[in-house]
Symmetry: C2
Subunit: 290 residues, 2 copies
């Protein structure tokens, strides 16, 4: 997906020698392909992947991928931007090394701050660096010296205190609900959405339910529909925003987010009702649906 591609671009810009594993869009990362790639590239040091790919709606098996990476002596970098609190994620049990997320997805907090966790194994690797990181801003070693309780808290940046308070409040709400209950809520509410969408004869991009994200449903746009007009009407007339397709899926799918606080049955009911109205109102589908 787009964000796997983004990770590749970031690593390439930093002069990393990247071997990419290509899967069909809408499919999770194939563990067998990872294994084969590591066998043919024994010098590989880091395996990076997206847990919940926001452009396709597919969930990869982070546990399995990390297990393979470890078997080949690699550290893992895992994008959990869309999975954190929406899908099961066990950073320590699965042995993930550098795991980043966003506050604006299932945490329903402010955008502009990124939760990050780094394993001891990865910190050790960082501490062994012989060359300085090319940007001061992203130098995790320095940030660790600012954050970590074991260090002297040497100044690195002015802390974005308002965002940190917002994030702390979001985490408090997650704790109050309980992680497992949050995952279950995302699963259940998205099931209601899927049932309703199929009643509108809309098909999902990811067919296999076991790898389909509950917090982000990617729906195929029916033939002959002006998909941008549907999104514009939802937004302008009903104040509901759904996302367009990204990358090669542009124009072909809608991306419906049900993340964190917005993942509630009243939102699903409202969207389904409005979507039915807007779709039946379009000249292109009125003949087949009327």
């Amino acid at each position: 997906g787009v964000f796997g591609g983004r990770m590749t671009e970031m690593a390439t810009r930093l002069s990393a020698d990247v071997v990419t594993i290509d899967d069909e869009w809408g499919q999770p990362v194939d563990p067998q392909k990872l294994e084969a790639a590591l066998e043919s590239n024994p010098d590989t040091k880091i395996v990076g992947f997206v847990h919940a790919e926001t452009s396709t709606g597919a969930l990869s098996d982070a546990s399995k991928l990390a297990e393979i990476a470890q078997r080949f002596g690699c550290l893992t970098i895992v994008d959990t931007v869309t999975s954190l609190t929406g899908s099961p994620l066990y950073v320590d049990d699965w042995g993930l090394d550098a795991v980043y997320s966003g506050a604006q997805k299932c945490l329903s907090s402010v955008a502009g701050i990124a939760p990050l966790t780094i394993s001891d194994r990865a910190i050790e690797k960082i501490n062994q660096r012989q060359t300085p990181v090319s940007t001061w801003f992203h130098d995790i070693g320095l940030i660790d010296g600012y954050w970590s309780e074991s260090s002297s808290r040497s100044y690195h940046h002015t802390a974005p205190v308002n965002s940190i308070f917002a994030l702390a409040e979001s985490l408090r709400l997650v704790k109050q609900e309980g992680l497992e209950r949050s995952w279950e809520r995302h699963r259940k509410i998205s099931q209601t959405l899927l049932t309703g969408l199929s009643q509108l004869n809309l098909e999902m991009m990811v067919e296999d339910a076991s790898i389909r994200l509950p917090q982000l449903s990617v729906v195929k746009v029916p033939e002959g529909i002006d998909e941008a007009m549907v999104r514009a009407r939802l937004l302008q007339e009903y104040d509901i925003e759904i996302g367009p397709g990204l990358g090669p899926l542009a124009g072909q799918v809608w991306r419906i987010g049900l993340m964190g606080y917005s993942c509630r049955s009243e939102n699903v009911e409202r969207l389904l009702g409005v979507l039915k109205e807007v779709l039946s109102d379009l000249p292109e589908v009125s003949s087949s649906s009327g």
Copy 2:
């Protein structure tokens, strides 16, 4: 100062070939030294400097430095983190090229968002790059494609909307007061502080009033005083925070900020009263002041 040094470190990490100009701490950047350095290094492409140095309290002559840089065909990168809205700053009139600031200083807004302006000349230079910027995050060309009205607004990042609203509100307040009046307020209120400090026999780090920052007063710690204890007492007993010295000035100075909303006479009066009490209370100075 510390932040000029930081700029050097950042450029060095990005493999720039940096020629530094060293001035005594507490002195502004010497224009003659810049001129001499550019004469001996005719290949120089960029001149970078800090306008208002937060570690020493000294203001450099950005207009003069930019004029010299332009005469030698260089672009300028100017740190205005502490100067913006606290000291006169004319980005266009002075012909500054890449100018960054912070929202948490004289704008009195939230930390975590950085105002930035880039001249057409610098954008042209950026657009002519042959190699990609090493970090996606800091790629101004891509950010320009997201921001700029002339572009197709291609997605670069999730906008930190809460911080942007906070910044917009701060800018509205600055506009309401008027930039010139804001500068004048900073000048006037800091004068009250300086008068009060000299009555307490405290000396300023920057002696020359014409290059002294109004928004940040750097005060010499009197001999024999436990400066950290003074700061701790101000904070714990009176809820007033003043900064310690940075870098080589650690332990030697206090840094008193009067920035944006906090730059008000009642704050100055309160600090002066409390400081008098705390200083006369210390065993070390009680004999000379009592």
